[in-house]
């Protein structure tokens, strides 16, 4: 990661991952904006959180514009909905050319939707399988493609 401090980071989805990521980046001095459709999700952010929160009913291109997406250097799409994450990540990367875009997918097949774009996919399933493979076969075994 080549993010400079004080750069703008947008996190869409204030679940466990979004919340922890927001807190971590805010503690490190980044300007963090968290977006969620449920206001109560923000109440779980720690009191030390120094970033901004935006409550948006339907998250769309205007929500992201309101968060000044054209000035963001990073966006993380981690709502609980794969298709919404894919849409948000594509808006960020393909429309607003945000340099670092991360998207979380439960369904590994969704990789095909972002293939070829400047978007990094995060797959909890693959990470979990990786742990099992490492534990069972050890780190020296050849890695199998999932």
């Amino acid at each position: 990661m080549k993010l400079e401090r004080k750069e703008r980071v947008i996190i869409v989805g204030c679940g466990r991952l979004g919340r922890r990521l927001a807190t971590m980046l805010s503690d490190k001095g980044y300007q963090v904006i968290v977006i969620d459709n449920d206001e109560t999700a923000f109440s779980k952010l720690p009191e030390t959180f120094g970033g901004f929160t935006i409550k948006a009913d339907g998250i769309d291109v205007d929500t992201l514009k309101y968060a000044d997406i054209d000035e963001a250097s990073m966006l993380v799409a981690c709502t609980g909905n794969d298709n919404l994450n894919s849409l948000i990540a594509q808006i960020a990367s393909r429309i607003f050319a945000v340099p670092n875009v991360y998207v979380r997918f439960e369904d590994t097949d969704k990789e095909l939707l972002i293939k070829g774009f400047n978007i990094h996919g995060i797959y909890p399933f693959k990470l979990t399988m990786g742990v099992f493979e490492d534990t069972i076969f050890g780190e020296n075994e050849e890695e199998e493609d999932l």
């Binding site: 339907g58 769309d60 291109v61 205007d62 909905n81 794969d82 298709n83 919404l84 894919s86 849409l87 594509q90 808006i91 393909r94 429309i95 369904d107 097949d109 969704k110 095909l112 939707l113 293939k115």
Partner: protein
Amino acid sequence: MRIVVAGGRTQADFLIGNLVKKKHKIVVINDDQAYCDYLSSTHKIPVFCGDPSKRFVLEEAGIQDFDVIIALTYKDADNLAICQYAKRCFGVKKVICIVANPKNADLFKELGVNTVISSTHMVAEYITQATSVENLIKSMNLENDKVTITEVYVESNYSCVGQTLMNIDLPTNSIIGCIIRKSSDMIVPNGNTEIKAGDKLLVISSPENLKKVIGAITK
């Protein structure tokens, strides 16, 4: 043509009925088992039950190289995923979807969907037109409001009655494309065609010029 209809309820039912009548080969994917049963028994076509925004569901439905997919689910993000899978993984030639949020219409086109239909947008446009233009005039916008086709009924007191087309002073970017006359089916006019009272004119123009065009015909 081979067409996939993914998701949707009443719209899907109506659309499938129309497409079957026109002898297209239809495959339906819907996530509601009861509605799948209804669609397959009503239309006698193959129906696959499952979430059409999942790749394996599209694969099971065998949509490889189909001509068209129409995504009708109520979630815009799902429709985008369906269209992108169809295009990128299954070589479907033309991908069409509806959107609930009109702001997504242009956006989805930019992201690769060939045709995006926003019913909210269309209804809003229609209401605006109905309230702003004289009530006898029907009008329809195409290509995201770049072109408008307007139907004008010629009353006997209009100055254009008895005139040939070349003598009517229409603004730029407008043309009378077709005349519907009771005595004949339809006329594609040329400069020498004369307008008669009772004609219905189909005018093609830019939306900005619509008022001027109507002014030129009805004055």
